[in-house]
């Protein structure tokens, strides 16, 4: 079949998981994480180092990524979560930049700018090229589906309602005796761990990772997926991630028709369009394509108190 389509879908699956994790942090809980690529890269390198340097199997690499992502998430959150949202945004952005410098400079660990080569695949070895790429796609879509189901389940539980209440207004859940800080911390840590896990999947899919794979434009695409789909709505994120990846890869096929522009201008134009679309979306349709089903936070919070009783 068409192996390019397989490749695009694989990439879409990876962006989808990242976007779902961000939707948990931002959409449900209102935490602004601009360091998506930091956690994603951390997971990729952690998993690569576990499987290549220490010869661990793929699952151990994935587990290492999840654990390290959770630890990093907890540290970043402890640093800034008590302050207002702006500080979290700044600290996460700085974290992503710093972690990329570590990848680039610690050659003994990451092989620096020449890139870390990963041989271990997430599927059975020795299959044909086509079969392997289908299997990898299967693994990534399965992971995406699991994360999607987990997130949808989470969003519907009383726990998810508290997260929404935390996002809307700190006072209501606080007066109901909820420890807001703990809820924020948990959501942030879970999201970060999932992002790092995605990094692991990505690393074993592309097989060569360099610090340049984890730059801010990637984070912008993930944010775009969440906002376009509808913050807080997990199904919307699926739509958003697919739309963003197909717009991004699709513009490759438009290039030949824009002959009056050079390649550099086309590439700049692509980013201008994505950025403007993001601004317009927030300006005119902040709820996204698929808005979150509306529920007044106070109502939601009061409904869960008896069960907690």
């Amino acid at each position: 079949m068409d192996s390019y389509l397989v490749a695009i879908l694989t990439v879409a699956g990876i962006y989808l998981i990242l976007a779902l994790a961000l939707n948990l942090q931002f959409g449900l809980t209102g935490l602004i994480n601009f360091g998506v690529v930091g956690f994603y890269g951390l997971g990729a390198y952690a998993s690569g180092i576990a499987t290549e340097t220490f010869h661990a199997p793929f699952l151990a690499g994935l587990l290492a990524a999840l654990i390290i992502g959770a630890i990093a998430g907890a540290l970043v959150a402890l640093l800034s979560l008590r302050l207002s949202g702006d500080f979290l945004a700044i600290v996460t952005l700085g974290f992503a930049e710093t972690i990329r410098l570590v990848f680039n400079n610690e050659d003994w660990l990451t092989h620096g700018p020449s890139g870390f080569i990963i041989v271990t695949r997430p599927v059975i070895a020795g299959l044909s090229r086509t079969a392997t790429s289908w299997m990898v796609l299967g693994v990534i879509l399965l992971a995406a589906l699991l994360v999607l189901l987990l997130m949808m389940r989470l969003a519907d539980t009383p726990y998810g309602r508290v997260l929404r209440a935390v996002r809307e207004d700190d006072l209501v859940p606080a007066t109901l005796g909820k420890n807001i800080f703990m809820y924020r911390l948990q959501a942030f840590v879970l999201g970060s761990a999932i992002m790092a896990g995605t990094g692991s999947l990505y690393a074993h899919y592309v097989q060569t990772i360099t610090p340049d794979n984890f730059t801010t434009p990637v984070a912008i695409l993930v944010w775009m997926s969440v906002i376009v789909g509808g913050a807080g709505n997990m199904k919307g994120t699926v739509l958003g991630a697919l739309a963003v990846v197909f717009i991004y890869e699709g513009t490759r096929f438009i290039g030949p028709w824009l002959t009056m522009l050079d390649a550099e201008q086309i590439s700049a134009l692509r980013f201008i369009i994505i950025g403007v679309a993001l601004i317009l979306m927030i300006r005119f349709r902040p709820e996204g394509l698929l808005p979150e089903a509306y529920q007044r936070p106070a109502e939601a919070a009061s409904r869960i108190t008896p069960s907690k009783g």
Binding site: D2, Y4, L5, G112, P113, T208, K235, S267
Partner: protein, 407 residues
Amino acid sequence: MNITRRLFVTGSTIALATPALLRHGLAQSGPIKIGSLTPLTGGGAPYGPEKAKAHRAVVDLVNANGGVLGRKIEVIAEDSQTNPEAAVRAARKMIDADQVSAIIGTWASSETIGIMPLCQDANVVQLFSGSSDNLPDGDKKRLCFNLQPLNKAWCVALADLAAKRGYLKVGFAGPKNDFAASMGASFGKSLQAVGGQIVGEPLYYNPTQVSYRAEAEKLIASKAPALFLAGYVTDFTALYRELVRGGYTGKVFALSFAVGPDFKKAVGSAAEGILHGSPVPPVGKDSYDAYLRLVGVKPNGQIQFPYGCAAYDEINLLLLGMASAKSTEARALSDNIMKVANGPGERVTTFAEGAKLLAEGKSINYDGASSSADFLPNGMLKSRDFALYEIKGGEDVSILTTTSTAE
């Protein structure tokens, strides 16, 4: 479940809609597809366009004369953005959607190395110009050919010049990337071989930062009588400016591509006395002149399109390899590229000459526009001309041209 159904519907709609865009011309009997992946944006942007143009020009000529193996050649051109991540995505599209038989033209070592696992996996031949000493490592299947000497070769020439001018203690600085890191290591070794040594630790910096003052200060404090700065034009210019403002009076060695017209315009007369070097095309040689005329430029005894001529050799070698192998299958293709490049056989400088002799059953030896195009068993270039210059009166004045040979 509702969501699974919705996902399935969305997914299959896309799956049905996209192939129409992607699948045109996958049939085996159609044209032979070749990927031209060059840096049109990013750090390599000054050099990518001339490479892409050389590929295009040769293919147009070959197609006008009937193609290769009775099939037309189709060039799939993409921008590598001088970024391995973008290069990998573009290469994936070339390999999977277009099903190219070779990817040629990558420039930065990071992009060449980045797409290598993909090409090895899919049995796609690579021809490129790059100089990181790590380039041969990933080529397990022997499908790669490099038209540029490795850093080792550059550094031998630069270290010789430094020694000849009496600079045995030289400081080193460069951006933290694969190219400069490998340059630093090689330069240290070459300098030792001529009795000199690097002053202090090699200094690496990140190429995107707000000021280079502290870096310049550190280099000045090292009191090195000469410095070798292996930067690209953007960071080299900023660092050089701070060195001058900081009062550095020693000699500066650089790479020719960093001190081109943009640099000279930015710093003016302060560029005086910089020594620089790079691999050069053999000016005045018939094959180089033939290339220049093909892309519509008059040979004038000066270096023009230093990377375009390598791209000319990339595409010629690839097409001659196909003609010789009578196949586009990677193993046969790679073996035959080696055969037509290294000979023995009759000397040819264009595809037309070579194809004619091959059809008569003779063997050939391709002599290129950038070098004689002879390879070591690992696909790296055996030797190439290397020129050293000094900036005098705002012009590059040639000091000497040597032929550097890989060990």
